[in-house]
């Protein structure tokens, strides 16, 4: 069956440009997560949605980062005025139920963002 998909897979931006990264979760999944994975590091939590509600955005590194999930399915992570330190792989994950640490998170392939 279809898994989590992300687009684009690769994005190159000039410093100062705005970018938008898309995540299509598994159909019917209530929870959606965004993680940032810097080179040689493990993924780090950015934000969490339960349906359309953004319940936790404590991991967003600055106010240049903004995420939305307006209809409770597709989500977009937007980064304004990109900086070189934003270069990373951005991972999206979804899980079936609301919250709950027991539920498996299914990850997409990620979007590799390179800021020049």
């Amino acid at each position: 069956g279809a898994g989590v998909s992300q687009s684009p897979r690769y994005k190159v931006a000039k410093r100062g440009q705005d970018v938008a990264l898309r995540c299509d979760p598994i159909s019917g999944h209530v929870s959606l997560f965004w993680y940032q994975q810097a080179l040689g590091q493990g993924p780090e939590f950015l934000t969490y949605f339960q349906n359309e509600a953004q319940l936790d955005k404590s991991g967003l590194p600055s106010d240049r980062f903004f995420a939305e999930r307006p209809e409770g399915s597709v989500s977009t992570l937007k980064i304004q005025r990109t900086q070189q330190e934003d270069s990373a792989v951005y991972l999206c994950a979804s899980s079936l139920v609301a919250g709950g640490g027991t539920d498996t998170q299914y990850f997409g392939p990620g979007t590799r963002l390179t800021v020049l």
């Binding site: 997560f33 993680y35 993924p43 939590f45 991972l91 919250g99 640490g101 299914y106 392939p109 990620g110």
Partner: protein, 114 residues
């Protein structure tokens, strides 16, 4: 706060040899534990998870892990590795209540040699 430490950044091992990838965590409250594998240009895939019950957990592809509460460890093992096991392996924890985000270790790159 919770943290996860993967002591080995790289582990080379010959094909058909056993392997152990180490994971230690720090938390003042109970956690759930996970191992994920990441193949090149692919997303993270769940290998196994410990929620409760038996401390020995069996996962996919012949992997298993043992939860040791006293040592706060959750080491991953496989008795005989294959070339196809070459990948990055991540240990992660999440709290059993009140939160849902994973906290990952920095990963261990397993390289299986012919």
């Amino acid at each position: 706060a919770q943290s996860v430490t993967q002591l080995d950044s790289q582990v080379p091992v010959f094909e058909e040899a056993p392997v152990e990838l180490r994971c230690n965590y720090s938390s003042s409250v109970s956690v759930y534990l996970f191992w994920y594998v990441q193949y090149p240009n692919q997303g993270l895939q769940l290998l196994l998870k410990y929620l409760s019950g038996s401390t020995l957990v069996k996962g996919i592809n012949g992997f298993e892990a043992e939860f040791n509460k006293s040592q706060t460890s959750f080491h991953l093992r496989k008795p005989s590795v294959h070339i196809s096991d070459t990948a990055e392996y991540f240990c992660a924890v999440t709290l059993i209540s009140g939160t849902y985000k994973y906290i990952f270790g920095t990963g261990t790159r397993l390289k299986v040699l012919a």
